[in-house]
Amino acid sequence: MSKTNLILILILCISGLLGAASIQESYLAEARGDYQSALAITQELARQDADEVFYTMRMAWLRYLLGQYNEAATLYRQGLAKLDHPDAHLGIINCHLALGEWDQARSRADLQLKEEPRNPTLLSKAAYAVFMKKDYHTAAEYYARIVSFYPWDMDNRGYWVNNLYLSGNINEAKTQYQILKKYSPQSQIVIDYKGILDQE
């Protein structure tokens, strides 16, 4: 092996090591809450590897953390074009929710629920979207679905009780309240509705 080849191999190794260190730096920056630097490093890496969906998704996540929801949604859509992944859909739903785009958030969640009908995260996102529109009846329906799949999820049962009450379905609210009180007596909903639903 010639001396020139040895030097070339050494340079390649060093640049490879530097590349690995860069994504690590991005992780470290994120860990210390410096999202701007984490994003800048990822953008630099993405420039070198434009088709890499990992970088697109990471940039979307970092933009999302920075509160730049429109930009994050655009990147999640770019990520979807490269790879149809539930995380990208969830990212877009979160961006819609953050931007107060309740109808878009719900319709995208509903669309994705056709693929994953028992996904509690998607169900709760859809529930939030309709709750924010004060459609408590529909929100209660989403929470009912979550509880039917995960009966031990007392947080979502609490939200169900709340939406049942707000939508005027008092009898069912009282029934679910009693279950919640039995298994999760310290729940905030139990405390809040004590004088209202805790009656025969």
Binding site: A31, R32, G33, Y64, L65, L66, G67, Q68, Y69, N94, C95, L97, A98, L99, G100, Y128, M132
Partner: protein
Amino acid sequence: MKLIASLLLLFSMALLSAQTGASDLQSLRIAVAQNPVDATARINLAYQLMLTGNNSEALSHYETLLIQNNRNIPAMEGVLWALQTQGLYQESVDRAKAFLALSPATGSLHSYKAYGLSRLGLHLAARSAYSKAKRLSDDDSVQQSTKLGLAWEYLYLQDYASAKTQLSKLESRTDPHAGELLHDTELKIAVGAGTNYADLTSGNLNLAIRKAAFSAEANYDELMLDGARFRRSFGISAMWQNPVANLKVDSSILLGKDKRVYPANSYGMSLQPVFYLDKLQVKPSLSGHYGTYQRLDAQQADLGFELRSDRLSGSYSFSLLYLDKDSIDSDEREQVHSFSLGVKAYKQAWLKAYLMSGNTAWWTSPYGLVYDAFEANSSIYGLSLYSPIGKKMGFLLYSQIGTQNNETDISTALTLSYSI
């Protein structure tokens, strides 16, 4: 070695505490990311970001909260707080107006608006907004901050009696600086010179002192005729600002070459209550002057008012003058009307126009100037420009055209002042 170990321990503790603060912020950020509609988590995050100086990031979260719910009062307060922390006072006032259109009875929003207006130098509007905040809020901290805000606005408006009243309402000495500003002695010195571009030149020196609601002035004025000393006057005045009205007394001695007139004495007293109507300051006034000259006495009664907003001012004064002359059957009664209209030209610079109508001989103007002459103008048209120079200095340029029996004269005066 012991020292190095101690330093290492201190360094690691500092590192640990810094990481704890960052991780609190980090966990709030993750909570918001996981549930972007969790208003409580986002408010907490934005609040922590404000406390750590990340104002623009906090602002974006407050804005997001408003996108999600445009009636979120803590988010509105947060937006105004973040804008004002960044020094964007005009924007904060505009946003406060928009928020108040949605929630007109929220005292804290009026308070933020007031602070923004105050920083823009619009103290009457700020006073009005603080008053609304005080009236609407039953929150203790908002009450305290509005009382303090009001005290500051009265200090800016030089209404020391009202400032004192507001400061006395504060439960504790929340802002000692406001109290110091009220009670510290303030000294102002002014020098001026004038000319009528013909035979008359003048020079004057004025010293003013104020402590709390009491103030006093000493004035020396020298008039030169054809370059020779013609008349000089020494004057003193004292004013007490009290919650009912501003009470002012003054006296001056005039000495000069004209034996028909000098030596002479002049005395005056005025009473001027101060009212506020929304963004307006209203000052009605009642005053009287008495002058004793060698061949006549002058008795004068004035009724006037001043109206002021942050950008415009106006005044009117009506004077009844009785000249009791030594010559038999030569007493005279005169009426003088005095108007002024001012406009804020730029920042704190004011441009004012004046009109004085009537026989001004032996008349004391609302600005304290005695027209000690047998022949004086029957109409005076004046224009002045006042502007501060930096924080302590100021200049006043005044020019007037006087008319009498189809003759006109022009005069100009320049005064420079310095506050200590």
